[in-house]
């Protein structure tokens, strides 16, 4: 996202210091390690630096009650994702884990645990891919929670959860097993990866984004106590944070799109005479992206709007981001030619990052299905 191309009121982030800090990390040590991260090196130190700089907590409400700044959180994520999409994605994981901790209102999660999370001393992720698809009627819940004295016992397997390590944690949702009649419900909790009964298993190799700390998580009789409960029942909390959850993801797309456009301009002087015959030229993509960025930052002003119309707008912005990612990354490769196709080139890495944005939950197809479901007129059954 090029600040110079944004409307004036959006161009100046509220705390310019944060953007400078993120830019310095992104253009500095992150730039040199982006290839290694893509191939599998999990950058725990960089993530902690970014978190400590405030890059993954700008959206959180401040201690004095000042509302968080979702736009700033998205811009910060984009600044890193421009250099390394995987890092942008892990920043999103950390962002939403913080959102869960804060939204829980549970003193066991909001106090020192949230503070350490915000300072980047501890890292976390989100296992809501499956529940999101479950709520959109795409698949059923994989974790089951049985009520026991003082909490729940959880069983089941989540296939892919990112930004994890043995001492990390993530937000998860389980279907509560209840006997007899009564409405089914779900409960949301923070799953500690080092709790007894939890096993992290290495996933099969992906084509990119390998250094994202992604594991399958196996739960065998995992006890979840009151201190780890985010929301029970989960749905009211999900309804409140779903807009922000999806909207924050737009930061990853924004960075990848801008990175791709920048790499087109990088070869324009030398190759413009042939590149002019390509579709999706950088100026066209920039204009489309700037309009989208303006929309995203406008939506970021009211992240807790629970109206259907607002959520459709958020889903559509996220879908547009994914579609533009694919087009921009692909076009950048066409613009750069062979040099962009080199194994170490950021240009072809970005093609795989863009594909990730398009398939990670909510994938383009999920977004469209959910928009269609929310747009349909409800009638008697």
């Amino acid at each position: 996202m090029n600040a110079a191309d944004l409307p004036p009121e959006l161009a100046q982030p509220a705390t310019p210091g944060l953007m400078d800090a993120v830019r310095s990390i992104a253009q500095g040590s992150l730039a040199g390690r982006a290839y290694a991260i893509d191939r599998g090196a999990y950058p725990v130190d960089l993530l902690k630096q970014l978190a400590a700089a405030g890059a993954m907590s700008a959206h959180l409400e401040k201690a004095d009650g000042t509302p968080g700044d979702y736009g700033l959180a998205i811009l910060a994520m984009a600044e890193a994702a421009k250099v390394c999409g995987a890092t942008g994605f892990m920043m999103w994981c950390q962002c939403v884990a913080g959102l869960y901790l804060q939204a829980s209102g549970n003193p066991g999660l909001t106090g020192e645990r949230l503070a350490r999370h915000v300072r980047g001393e501890t890292l976390g992720g989100t296992g809501l891919s499956n529940p999101m698809k479950s709520f959109a009627q795409i698949e059923s819940l994989l974790l089951k929670a049985t009520p026991v004295d003082g909490g729940y016992v959880v069983n089941g397997v989540l296939p892919w959860v990112s930004n994890l390590a043995p001492d990390h944690y993530f937000g998860a949702i389980a279907a509560v097993q209840t006997d007899g009649p009564g409405a089914s419900r779900e409960m949301m909790f923070m799953l500690r990866c080092n709790a007894p009964g939890v096993t992290l298993k290495t996933c099969p190799e992906f084509s990119g984004m390998e250094g994202t700390g992604t594991f399958s998580v196996h739960c065998k009789d995992l006890f979840v106590g009151a201190d780890d409960i985010v929301a029970d029942p989960a749905k009211p909390t999900i309804a409140r944070i779903r807009g922000g959850f999806v909207l924050l993801q737009c930061g990853i797309a924004a960075g990848i799109i801008q990175g791709a456009i920048d790499s087109m301009w990088a070869v324009e002087g030398q190759l413009g005479h042939v590149n002019q015959f390509l579709e999706d030229r950088p100026a066209d993509l920039q204009a489309e992206f700037d309009a989208l960025a303006g929309r995203i930052l406008k939506l970021a002003e009211t992240p807790f709007d629970t109206s259907t119309d607002y959520f459709i707008d958020v889903l559509d912005a996220r879908a547009h981001g994914a579609e533009l990612c694919l087009r921009a990354a692909n076009s950048a490769l066409m613009h750069q030619g062979a040099r962009g196709y080199l194994m170490g080139s950021e240009v072809q890495r970005r093609v795989r990052e863009a594909q990730f944005v398009a398939i990670v939950t909510p994938a383009i197809k999920h977004l469209r299905k959910e928009i269609a479901r929310l747009s349909a007129e409800e009638m008697p059954a």
């Binding site: 070869v267 324009e268 413009g272 489309e288 030619g337 040099r339 269609a372 747009s375 009638m379 008697p380």
Partner: protein
């Protein structure tokens, strides 16, 4: 001890700004500041100091294939690229995106017919949330009386009409947003580019906030009507149903008339004291009540519905005690309707006909002028965006909606003439004549 003075030429060399050299073969840029450590060239190695046997680290060509590189200014590149884009645009006499129409009701199909009649080649795409089948909406008000089987309401399937008109139909597709800067229509089946966009998506039946959508039918298109007919069954074989219709305007009155003729018992409610109160001066209400005097229609005026709920089975028995054994498993319970003044009604189905409202999502997304509907120029039917027209139930002319069949054909003619660059056919607003299809005594209202 004396210090050897630095030769002037060497000093100039050291102080000179770092240069970059580009490989003509692959585009690799050698930056003197960074050097090429992998090939043994330390950072700060001047290009001229590179041994002749050094090879480009990417493609292997030699030093002689490199030339001094000055990064061009981004502004200059942008200006140059935009000149090319302009040239490409003006060289194309007609770009290939054509006309995109949102809505496949009478208005959408009429426009497609009118455009295709004038231009056999222009690409036309119709995006519609429904199945896209062609039907006459007024027939929904008389289908039972005329004994038209539901499946006979479809005149031509959407697929067949699309094939006949050589257009692309995207059925069951929601239009989500117009990106007018890039002339894109975002939909749930992908993004369409357009040269001309025509909004013909109609209006949506209003549902007062107190009434739950899951319990109240609204009949404004064929899909909902067919589902209602399925829920009602055939009065002759499965018995008559008790129906409650909220709103005794044109649609509510026509539906009441037809459903009663179809053998069902109808209660018709309205906030006004008589049906068709909009045509009070023409005494429409008293005439229509006279026409209904032998039909199972009960009109209750001056009431406003406050609540609709599905009764629990036990509660319903208190209301409508049934002989033992009549309630069988799986039987659905009835609905209870409560008015603001405390009256209660029971019904098998509730239909709300409380007026129409244009959905604003698409218009809002393109910042189109809005006046209780999409505001269009009364002569050209153009919206505030020069590439977007609108017609039918979704538009207002001078703030007035006119949700009738008659203007649609003339509106389609006007817009099609503009889009296909034929001689303009300005639209003119004419007074509407309304035929109330209360079959036992049809009324004509002005």
């Amino acid at each position: 001890m004396t210090l050897q003075p630095t030769p002037v030429s060497a000093a100039v060399q050291t102080l000179a700004p770092w240069q970059s050299y580009i490989c003509h073969a692959c585009g690799y840029i050698y930056n003197e500041a960074e050097g090429d450590p992998d090939s043994g060239l330390a950072a700060g190695t001047r290009f001229c100091d590179i041994p002749e046997d050094w090879a480009c680290p990417l493609c292997g060509v030699t030093k002689s294939d490199f030339a001094l590189y000055e990064a061009p200014s981004l502004d200059a590149l942008r200006a140059q690229a935009s000149d090319c884009a302009t040239a490409a645009w003006t060289n194309t006499s007609r770009s290939a995106h054509g006309v995109v129409i949102v809505g496949a009701g009478r208005a959408g199909w009429q426009l497609a017919e009118a455009v295709r009649a004038r231009d056999s080649a222009i690409p036309i795409t119709i995006v519609t949330a429904c199945a896209g089948d062609v039907y006459d909406k007024p027939l929904l008000s008389v289908a039972l009386a005329r004994r038209i089987a539901p499946e006979k309401l479809i005149k031509e399937t959407g697929v067949a009409a699309a094939r006949r008109l050589k257009l692309r139909l995207l059925p069951h597709t929601h239009a989500v947003r117009i990106c007018k800067e890039t002339r894109q229509l975002r939909t749930t089946r992908g993004t369409l580019r357009y040269d001309q966009l025509v909004l013909a998506h109609g209006a949506k039946a209003l549902l007062p906030p107190a009434l739950p959508a899951a319990l109240c039918w609204r009949i404004n298109h064929l899909g909902a009507y067919l589902k209602l007919r399925e829920a009602l069954g055939d009065a002759a074989t499965t018995g008559p149903k008790d129906l409650l219709i909220v709103g005794a305007g044109l649609i509510g009155s026509e539906l009441a008339n037809d459903l009663a003729l179809g053998g069902h018992r109808v209660t018709l409610l309205d906030v006004q004291g008589e049906p068709l109160a909009r045509w009070h001066a023409a005494q429409a209400g008293s005439q229509v009540l006279q026409a209904w005097k032998d039909l199972p229609i009960r009109f209750v005026g001056g009431v406003k519905v406050a609540n609709v709920e599905r009764l629990a089975l036990n509660a319903e028995r208190l209301w409508h005690p049934q002989p033992a054994g009549t309630a069988c498993a799986g039987q659905t319970t009835r609905l209870r309707i409560t008015t603001e003044c405390g009256q209660h009604f029971a019904a098998d189905e509730v239909i709300v006909a409380a007026g129409l409202q244009t959905p604003s999502r698409l218009a809002r997304s393109a910042n189109l002028a809005w006046a209780d509907g999409i505001a269009v120029d009364p002569h050209t039917l153009r919206t505030s965006d020069e590439r977007i027209h609108a017609m039918g139930d979704c538009v207002t002319l001078d703030g007035q909606a006119s949700r009738f069949i008659e203007p649609i054909f003339r509106q389609a003619t006007t817009i099609a003439a503009t889009i296909t660059a034929c001689a303009p056919v300005p639209y003119e607003v004419r007074p509407t004549i309304v035929r109330v299809k209360t079959t036992s005594l049809p009324l004509t209202l002005h």
